[in-house]
Symmetry: C2
Subunit: 656 residues, 2 copies
């Protein structure tokens, strides 16, 4: 293979690729970059790909019953009335939400709006949701787009504790917290001085206080480097741009600290002992252009020593940038050469790695090569040894670097010593044994680390297994997020769904059990046993300071042009059958749903004023709007509630 370092061809000159089948999605620019990556990898090699699977000849893409169909196991879809046994929390991509799926059925049960308005529930319409989302001075929403990628949940004793989930917004550098009792987003924080916030991960215990055996921090990695502060100066000097790694407190959702690094961040992993967090880095070059970002043969995984960083903050060893008051510690290479005082360490990883995942035994972080066909296994005890001055070179923490196939991205685990890695270019999942890989890397070329391969449809990004990111990984179900779904579902125009495939991993061989179309574009997800959650299905009136506990307490009050209308709902009627305001009034409408029955949600819509929202059982919600047109406006219930739902109405009279 060629060692040619010529950058990929310029976009405008990219010829169309004519390779048939699944690889037609890739153009020659990628193949060129990939070639360079392959050439650079020679520390581990095991030709474990089955005939045809990882060779240039791709399986045929046409027809619904492709390669993977042959290993399918039908009949696992639940019968009517059968409950799923696992929850899945899926990020919603640029839908800006989090989705709750039942597993193994793959059925979507709920969407939790976070960063983007949601007309179904009135997210971004009610005053309560606008307060969570954030508004401008004029009361309108600060942001109306989002891009969620990674969803993770809070831990206790190495397993999910059912308190919170967290999800990132890449577009506007925000992190949202979701309460897992009511399945609602209750807090959103915008992180200063970063762009391209991609990976997040909660910590699993405190790095110092052993009694804190649960999540108190969540870490955030930023992909894009920026002038600091980003005020319009130094824009033409990308070599001076910097990226930051961020720590957020999970209770206050305030940013605790940030770390200035060399290169960029991508995904994030945390250790089970709470001492380490890490992020893979695909742009150690600090390149601003496509070709520059893939010029180096090796990039890195940067490790953060949390206790030392927080001591540095306590000791005042930090800077701040721009308007932000957040302390920023120095984690650049140059300032952290002495292991005994280093806040961070950079482990070398092949070409543009994607994904860093913690094994459930707590021993390893595994980085995938993306443009190298390898996975790199890093032993955490050795990383700590380096920080303690017991290991002379940080790269000696690498205990395996083995070939898996083309385009490795993310890794999941079955809790029985096996890892499952997506191969984006091969459109495969490869199952491999971590111990065998370490033996092979150590010189035992008889060690067969590849256990099985499964073709998926097509271009898998993230994958995850039940409990994979906990100490309780149970090796039952694997889901694979396939970015392309060509020919797998009925055609619906140019915009295709993605394909979340479900795989039974309980045996030696992987068995594909289901294809599930999903609206673009989920990225990451977690899957866990249903017993871990204890959801509440009816709110408590006492949780809402503005609740109207008795219909008699409702009515209209006026303060100048500000009018407050309070009413209650009980199927099939609103407590105010009509109410009168004047043109030009600013109306605040507060509604309490007095129905106590589970599932008995009401809606409230007013024509022509962009008012529609729902009120769940025993919930109170409010909306504020200006009435600028006279006339009769029939308010009505938009959420089915009762046989006389259509008759559930009120009238707003707007006097001229």
């Amino acid at each position: 293979m060629s060692q040619d370092k010529t950058p990929a061809t310029a976009p405008s000159a990219t010829p169309e690729l004519t390779v048939p089948g699944r690889r037609r999605f890739l153009n020659s620019a990628a193949v060129a970059g990939l070639g360079a990556g392959l050439a650079a990898c020679n520390s581990g090699s095991q030709s474990a790909a089955p005939a045809g699977a990882a060779s240039g000849a791709a399986p045929a893409a046409s027809g619904g019953s492709g390669h993977a169909g042959t290993s399918s196991q039908p009949g696992l879809h639940p019968k009517p009335g059968e409950l799923d046994t696992y929850y899945g929390l899926w990020s919603g991509g640029h839908t800006g939400d989090v989705r709750v799926l039942g597993m193994p059925s793959g059925r979507e049960i709920l969407r939790i709006p976070c960063f983007v308005p949601d007309a179904l529930v009135g997210w971004g319409i009610t005053n309560e949701s606008k307060k969570v989302m954030g508004t401008k001075a004029d009361g309108s929403l600060r942001y109306t787009v989002g891009d969620t990628h990674h969803v993770h949940a809070s831990y206790k004793d190495g397993d999910y504790d059912g308190r919170y989930a967290f999800v990132n917004d890449k577009i506007n550098s925000r992190i949202a917290r979701i309460r897992l009792d009511y399945f609602v987003c209750d807090k959103i924080t915008e992180i200063p001085n970063i762009q391209g916030f991609h990976g997040i991960f909660p910590d699993k215990r405190d790095p110092v206080d052993e009694k804190i055996n649960y999540t108190t921090r969540v870490f955030a990695g930023a992909e894009f480097h920026l002038p600091l502060p980003n005020d319009g100066k130094g824009m033409d000097k990308p070599e001076t741009y910097r990226a930051l790694f961020t720590c957020i407190d999970v209770e206050t959702m305030n940013v605790r600290w940030q770390a200035l690094i060399d290169g960029n961040c991508d995904l994030v992993a945390t250790s089970y002992d709470g001492k380490l967090a890490a992020s893979n880095q695909y742009n150690t070059e600090g390149g601003a252009h496509f070709a520059e970002m893939m010029s180096a043969e090796r990039d890195a995984c940067v490790f953060f020593h949390i206790a030392r960083i927080e001591q540095a903050v306590k000791d005042g060893k930090f800077k701040t940038y721009g308007d932000s008051k957040v302390p920023v510690v120095d984690c650049t290479r140059k300032s952290n050469e002495d292991p005994k005082t280093a806040l961070a360490a950079y482990v070398s990883v092949p070409k543009n790695p994607h994904g860093v995942n913690a094994s459930p035994d707590g021993k390893y972080f595994i980085c995938s090569g993306k443009l190298s066909p390898t996975a790199t296994v890093i032993e955490l005890a050795k990383v700590l040894d380096w920080f303690d001055g017991k290991l002379d070179k940080i790269d000696k923490a690498i205990v395996a670097e083995v070939e898996l196939g083309l385009g490795p991205l993310h890794t999941a685990f079955d809790g029985r010593g096996n890892a499952f890695t997506t191969l984006f270019l091969d459109s495969q999942v490869v199952k491999w044994n971590v111990d065998a890989a370490i033996k092979f890397h150590g010189g035992d070329k008889t060690a067969k680390y590849v256990v099985d391969r499964l073709d998926v449809h097509y271009q898998p990004g993230h994958l995850n297994a039940s409990g994979s990111e906990t100490a309780k990984a149970d090796g039952k179900w694997l889901a694979v997020g396939c970015k392309f779904s060509k020919d797998r579902f009925l055609p619906v125009g140019p915009l295709h769904p993605e394909n979340e495939q479900i795989v039974d991993i309980s045996g030696e061989k992987m068995i594909l059990t289901g294809d599930h179309p999903v609206r673009g574009e989920p990225h990451d997800f977690i899957i866990f046993k249903r017993e871990l959650l204890r959801p509440k299905q009816v709110y408590s009136l006492d949780d809402f300071p503005n609740a109207i506990k008795d219909p008699k307490d409702g009515g209209i009050t006026r303060n100048g042009k500000k009018v407050t209308v309070k009413m209650t709902t009980q199927a099939p009627a609103y407590s105010l059958p009509e109410f009168t305001v004047k043109k030009g009034d600013e109306v605040t409408l507060i509604i309490t749903n007095l129905d106590k029955v589970e599932d008995l949600t009401h809606g409230f819509a007013i024509p022509k004023f962009n008012v529609n929202f729902i009120v769940n059982p025993q919930e109170t919600a409010s909306v504020t709007f200006v009435v600028d047109k006279p006339g009769v406006y029939w308010c009505y219930c938009t959420h089915f509630c009762h046989a006389l739902h259509l008759e559930m109405r009120s009238r707003m009279f707007v006097e001229a």
Copy 2:
């Protein structure tokens, strides 16, 4: 039973119902109303309910494997790679969209944004979609909420022709047209002088010109009556309020005419010969309050004689209201007493009917009683006889009025003479034979019209069967939109999904084959064979006047503070790796996706400016925004496209 006409108890005094099981969703107000309805029905009675099903004792609601589970037939879920055989088009309720499902799997393949912004595709963000949605003078969206209920498709020769689908917005009285080649909404019309626009239905051929054997009109029914015009005068005189029935041209999407009626409209049906349209009326009382709307024992189904109405418009026999130029013809009872000149006729139907459906043989419209346990079968030939002066009383067009069970709402057909009606209160689908019902009503009390009953979970609203609303009804699959899903899926907090149940109706007995959770709240849907559509998956550059066909034609042009940035995309790069604008500029960004490969969609996001949208293969889209902050803004691809997707970026420099 009581003939007591006392209105239902006032909302604030409604006691909570303590009846266990499925009926706990209903309170005593409904039961009171229902009792009155039942009392009024005595023209047909056949106790066909199985033991326990329609009696006061409801089946137990707890537990996932309820009554319906016992008749389930597992294993019908498609294997991985198997395509569905039918499309389903589902309305999305207050999500404001239309959803495309594969049937019989029930898998959601696409959501088509219509009335509400959609952050995934950039609907409401791109200039192209804002033009379809409608904007205020300042360029912001006129409406951001919607409430879709009924989706129907265009016809040719009595079957769907794959051109268009149509869907209503109840909140803001809009109708959207969807192109079924690209599965996108291309036109939205706001209907004047109405509120509560609920039912829609396309015509199936022209009432006069036999050569026009396809859809050219779509009809719209308005539930809420209003002062005409609705300008703030006469608000306290609901007896003067009026509702309108509307006809829209499907090509121009302009409103052709409206009809002033007595009472209100609800659902709409059209005849196969194009001569008649009809709407059921649940508020012939013109009541403004809940109790008033259910005071009369019989309401109506109003029939419109299309040819006569259009002749009246031609003859100038119309009024206009307010600012609207739309001709409004007079279809009130008083003005249409002479059958020979009548534009409309009111057929009596029991108490607060819901739903009017055309049988596939073209002979009947069937109205459901809602608060009466009956379905009313109206023979269209007899309605035409009345208009021709051959039938002395319009109510003689009723050929059957038979008891089905509690809370009948909507009716579907299998093309073999059987009808399927949802019983909201009984949480059942009842299968009944139309000819047998007519015989029973005619006096043959041995005629057994009820064929089968199936318990569903719970409170079914709409149902529909494959091809049911066409002359090609094939009696294969039935879907039932159950409004409540308690205990059928994993708990996800207070907001429950609805449950679209799939039923095999190919045999004598109905067989429940699947439960599918759906995000609230779909109402109506149609199901048809996949062969009827011929979707396109790649756009044509020539369809976009502002397309950039060669990357060299891209770049930046300035006109004062207005800046136009043109670029192309080819995975994994944008043709402009950076571009510079000034603080205060109004930037219009035009992007053409030059990738030609199916499924290769790109996104374009800019942090902090609420810009994110997608560009499908060979599509051009644009966005306009003001840059009010200096700095570097990394633009990036939000829609997965390539192994180097993360590296697909550009930079916007905003100079201070």
